[in-house]
Symmetry: C2
DNA sequence: GTCTATATGTGGATAGAC
DNA sequence: GTCTATCCACATATAGAC
């Protein structure tokens, strides 16, 4: 039996090296995508950036979609972390801070936003695992709203529409600028006034 | 000189036939795009739908981008027409009707919305002529807001953010549903209250 | 004049040599 | 584990049949 396994436990070493290479590939993918747009990711270019030929990438990712999926997971994780640990001073402040952080997260990297929030790559659908992180972020937002006393589903949907609207207009019509960023506080104030003016909305039962 | 021009004036006939074929191609392109997504437009498929081979399309459009551009122009024209002739009963009603019409226009055809409002095809930029129609629609909205007494640029930007936010959330998270459509009236009311509560904003001069 | 046949270049992806 | 060679689908361009 001696010598049957020439590598007693180098498995973790291999795995670590492998993970490092995958990370390197993903970094290169992000740089391409940020430079030339999300749709401009070509495996040949990507391979060249990490000193490989295109087919070698298939040792690390099963397909181009798998690369997009890993990028989606990274982006979603970054978004979740950006939204974590917001100090709650008063009702309005927490929401305001949340809006600012999300806006900053989304507009600071247009390519990432396109990957996460628009379904723009033909045929690409994020895997359940990758998507779970995105859902977690939404849950966190929901919880934050609830902490402020907002539990009405309509009010929650309205909130997401407001924030996403500001982000979208900023990205589409004034990328890199502040035309819609300047409207965040006003929008939050407007939203809070609206929610306050409406009845708490009965949790169940029609009319 | 006689006989030099064997076709004295069939030019308009030819032109008419040609335009008809172009229209037929565009119709087929829309149907493909609505079925399989905006990015799924392949010239082979498109040609097959109109009984041609791919290269023949180049007799009618200089490139694939030219097809997208013609589609963009058609979409923008449809949007402009959808927003025209809104009866102005009272300030709120006109805005409300405008929001509903735009929402309906944008959400009723996701592929068209993607072409018009998201820059999703790599390398495609609408021609100035096609884009002019889209700008015209925005001007119309601006004029409608002005008719209601809203001329503050910030208030105008806020309006577009609100409407686009509702549209985006509807398309992204509940396509074909009414989850955000139901919030249009509430959003308009909220917006009008906000605009009314703020000072008219001095047209010029800082502070 | 209109379309077909054909060719080129660029993608993603796979098989097999080393 | 990385390479070369290759395949297939696609957009695109040109030559020539009808």
């Amino acid at each position: 039996m001696l010598g049957d396994r020439p590598n007693p436990a180098p498995t973790d070493r291999r795995a670590a090296r492998r993970e490092a290479t995958k990370a390197e590939i993903l970094d290169a993918a992000w740089s391409i995508v940020r430079e030339n747009g999300l749709g401009a990711l070509a495996l040949r270019d990507l391979a060249a950036r990490v000193g490989m030929r295109a087919p070698s990438l298939y040792q690390y990712f099963a397909s181009k979609y798998a690369i997009y999926d890993a990028m989606f997971a990274q982006g979603a994780r970054a978004g979740l972390e950006a939204m974590r640990e917001i100090p709650i001073d008063d009702p309005g402040a927490a929401l305001r801070e949340g809006a600012h952080r999300f806006f900053e997260f989304a507009t600071s990297d247009p390519a990432r936003a396109q990957l996460l929030f628009q379904r723009t790559i033909p045929g690409f659908v994020p895997s359940p695992e990758a998507y779970a992180t995105a859902v977690e972020t939404l849950e966190l937002t929901r919880a934050r709203l609830a902490a402020v006393g907002i539990t009405d589903p309509d009010a929650t949907d309205l909130w997401t529409a407001l924030v996403s609207g500001l982000v979208n207009q900023q990205l589409a019509n004034d990328p890199g600028g502040t035309r819609w960023a300047r409207l965040i506080d006003r929008t939050v104030t407007m939203y809070l006034a609206d929610v306050a003016s409406l009845p708490p909305a009965p949790t169940k039962g029609k009319k």
